[in-house]
């Protein structure tokens, strides 16, 4: 309980520190909205040439768009600190953290929330709202939605953590390997079933964003049962978080201090 209170206090302090840069915040939100708008512009182009993709209607795909954006938004708002790992390593800033009497991964994750995440989350919520207005979902979906979003954010963050942990081995002032995971998440905006088999396996089982985005979307279409829509995101999130902790603990043992 004490640990929980500690992490909560740390998060609130980090949030206050980020909120101090108000112009950054405003520009960040506008930026996040513009990025989502750019993705929606492509959606518009695609559906102006096809009535459906892989038998998925525009409103069904719009739901995937919204879920992807909310997943990203929640992860950025709460567990975004992992993006700073390569720079912490280069500057030798992890020295102190590793002697703190706390678990290092949660500390790193919650120490740098991004407020522009509000733009991503809001645009995602609007997309889901519009999608559900066009094609009303079963009542269960309203109760499962928070679970899907939290599971999606955990899976996405875990995937970034696993890839980011490579920074303990390959040192460099860059986060491109993490951006590859971020860009892979964008594939969740469209039905996984339209992709080649290797990408389906990658996004459903290896970095299983699809379990929290595509599976709920399929449930709303009647392709999967309620049971699958409940268990798949939970199971994938649990497995991803466990693996992320394991990889972090294993590779952080190889940490060598740098900087001066």
């Amino acid at each position: 309980m004490n640990a929980l209170r500690f992490y909560l206090t740390l998060y609130v302090v980090a949030l206050k520190a980020r909120a101090e840069y108000r112009v950054d915040f405003a520009v960040g939100v506008v930026t996040a909205l513009s990025s989502q708008a750019a993705a929606l512009a492509f959606f518009w182009m695609v559906f102006s040439h096809a009535p459906a993709i892989g038998s998925w209607s525009p409103s069904e795909v719009l739901f995937l768009f919204g879920m992807t954006a909310m997943t990203l938004g929640l992860s950025e708002a709460t567990l975004n600190g992992i993006w700073m790992l390569p720079f912490y390593l280069i500057a030798g800033e992890l020295d102190r953290l590793f002697v703190y009497p706390v678990r290092s991964l949660p500390f790193v994750l919650i120490s740098r929330p991004e407020l522009h995440s509000l733009g991503n989350f809001a645009s995602g919520a609007i997309s889901v709202g519009v999608a559900w207005h066009l094609a009303p979902p079963p009542v269960a979906a309203y109760f499962l939605l928070p679970l899907w979003i939290v599971a999606g954010a955990l899976i996405y963050t875990s995937a970034v953590v696993i890839v980011a942990s490579l920074s303990f081995i390959v040192l460099g002032p860059f986060a491109w390997h993490m951006l590859a995971v971020h860009n892979l998440l964008s594939s969740s905006r469209y039905p996984t079933s339209i992709y080649p088999r290797w990408l389906q396996v990658l996004t459903l089982f290896v970095l299983p964003f699809g379990a929290a985005i595509f599976v709920p979307g399929s449930f709303l279409r009647g392709d999967f049962s309620l049971w699958v829509a409940f268990v798949a995101p939970l199971g994938a999130a649990g497995a991803a978080v466990t693996l992320a902790f394991y990889v972090w603990e294993t590779l952080s043992n190889r940490y060598q201090s740098t900087g001066n």
Binding site: V27, G28, S34, F42, M45, G54, V170, F174, W176
Partner: protein
């Protein structure tokens, strides 16, 4: 924090003749390229990351054409050739000027850049040429892979298209640099740039023709895109190179590129002179 002041260099340190300036420019471009090549792994990972994002666009279009073989004015072979060439062009013309300036503004190192004898705009452009050279080096294998899968459709239909495509590519560099240099001005004002840089990338993604040629845009989106400079970074050079652009319209397209490039760089330089007077150097 100290306000930046204009510094007049002694005559012995000024770079005044064209030959001196050209030499400085080439040396700086070469040094930038060498610096970038030091971080080869970073560049390869960056390519992989953008390749993954772009493969989603490619796969979605393939699906659209699979389900609807005649979805628009462009046959699949032509669209594939366009998309692969657009990706390669985008990778070559992705300049790091804004990220570099952002980092130097935040650390206060920009104070030394603004008093370089070469001039700030030329200094940045030389580094942008360095970026371009390294990008081209890494883009060549992608083009070769594209050639293997898509075939001769990636090559220009005749020598004239090749020559005009290369001219258009060169002009696209100036448009891309001009757009990036405008973003640099926002970085000077905000002391931060993540937001504006990302916003520019979003606009580029929509309006440059990176996701599709303008003929596949919904009409209202196309009507906006034709009035913006972004299309001259990707769509214009790619359609000229591939011979997709009507030959009669090519001179007009090249002129538009040149005009946009000149206007953006001149506009950026003017704004730079104004913002520099108010800029406060960070650090100390």
């Amino acid at each position: 924090m100290t306000p930046t002041v204009a510094v007049r260099l002694p005559a012995s340190l000024r770079v005044s003749t064209f030959a001196q300036r050209a030499t400085c420019f080439v040396v700086l471009a070469e040094k930038t390229a060498r610096t970038r090549l030091t971080y080869r792994l970073s560049t390869v990972l960056a390519l992989l990351a953008s390749g993954l994002a772009y493969s989603v666009i490619l796969l979605v279009w393939l699906r659209v054409y699979h389900e609807n073989p005649k979805p628009g004015p462009l046959p699949l072979a032509k669209l594939l050739a366009y998309l692969v060439t657009a990706f390669v062009t985008s990778e070559v013309l992705t300049l790091s000027v804004d990220w570099r300036v952002l980092q130097r503004v935040r650390m206060g190192l920009i104070a030394t850049d603004v008093i370089r004898p070469l001039g700030f705009v030329t200094f940045q452009m030389a580094q942008a040429v360095g970026d371009l050279l390294v990008n081209a080096l890494f883009a060549l294998p992608i083009f070769a892979v594209g050639l293997h899968f898509v075939g001769g459709g990636l090559l220009p239909p005749d020598l004239a298209s090749a020559a005009l495509g290369l001219v258009s590519g060169a002009l696209a560099f100036f448009v891309s640099f001009g757009l990036t240099f405008l973003i640099v001005q926002a970085i000077f004002i905000l002391h931060s740039g993540y937001g504006v840089v990302t916003a520019k990338m979003a606009l580029h993604q929509v309006f440059s023709g990176l996701s599709a040629p303008l003929v596949l845009f919904p009409e209202s989106l196309r009507n906006v895109a034709v009035w913006l400079p972004f299309r001259h970074v990707i769509e214009t050079p790619v359609t000229v190179w591939l011979g997709h652009a009507d030959r009669a319209s090519v001179p007009r397209l090249l002129a538009a590129q040149a005009a946009w490039g000149a206007a953006l760089i001149a506009g950026g330089a003017l704004i730079f002179n104004a913002v520099l007077k108010k800029h406060q150097v960070q650090g100390g």
